[in-house]
Amino acid sequence: MKKISHLDEKQIIEAVTDERGLDGALRSHLLECPDCRAQKEALQGRLARFGDISRGEVPLDFRKPRVPEMSAGVLSPVWRIRPAFGMGVAFALILALLLSPLTLKRDRLYTQDVVYREMLQDEKFMTEIEKLEENPLPGFYVGIGDPGDDERDIQTPGAVNDASVAHDGGSRNA
């Protein structure tokens, strides 16, 4: 059986950077030989320490930005991406809850003051309706034939020549 010697420095480096590039026999030796494995792990450790030191020395602006997996945005809720949207939704929900018939108290909606004011408005409105019902004709036509409204319309025969009566026969109130 062919005896494999320990891995040289170049092969150790290759084992750290890309182990799959090593020959099969060398790979199995690396698995079995504690000396070679220790050499490989020592080199890996030195490289990791070097990486840590270099990361610490690099100015903040030149550091590679790191996106945390949690906030990658693909599956995270909308309100975590847009806080303003989340706040808007929350506000709308609170408003809807406050205005819903379940929470809205009738007594709070119709305070005595509001009811009194509406009663006055309604009374005025209903008076207008009553007037319309009593006489829907325009004002001018209402006056005609209703002497009770203005007693001055009742003229004595002698008063026909009065200047207040127009020559075309129309009333002075026209």
Partner: protein, 140 residues
């Protein structure tokens, strides 16, 4: 034809007149929300809701009819004020106005009828007394 329809309208108005007069028995606005009325007439929350609906519907309808009457009055006035008077057109417009007036009266009356139905005989009678007393209190 026209005089026939006018006579019919007049008959309807005359028929409705006593009922129309009764419409004033009901207080204006949403009086059922005042404890003065609600307590004395034992009006429940459900009845308050129903009265609210009745009031909203009725006042909206009355406002619509009032606007319609204003429009028809203006049209009638325009027809009469024309130099060459078209008598048939003027009378048609008057008939239209009169029918809207009848509808207005009926709508106003239907509100009192609704209140009467909801309160029942006894409470409706009590409401009239309570309203009279309330008016007296307001004048003091």
């Amino acid at each position: 034809m026209l005089s026939k329809s006018l006579a019919m309208l007049a008959a309807i108005v005359l028929f409705l007149f006593p009922a129309i007069c009764r419409a004033k028995e009901v207080p204006p606005g949403r009086w059922w929300h005042l404890p003065y009325f609600a307590d004395q007439l034992s009006i429940t929350d459900k009845e308050k809701d129903e009265l609210d609906k009745l009031f909203d519907y009725n006042r909206n309808r009355l406002a619509e009819l009032k606007a319609q009457m204003d429009e028809e009055r203006a049209e009638l006035l325009k027809a009469v004020d024309q130099e060459h008077l078209n008598e048939i057109s003027a009378i048609t417009k008057l008939t239209k106005l009169e029918s809207t007036r009848t509808l207005l009266a009926a709508t106003r009356f239907s509100y009192s009828l609704g209140v009467r139905k909801l309160l029942g005989y006894e409470r409706y009678q009590r409401m009239k007394t309570v309203y009279r007393n309330w008016k007296g209190l307001q004048q003091q």
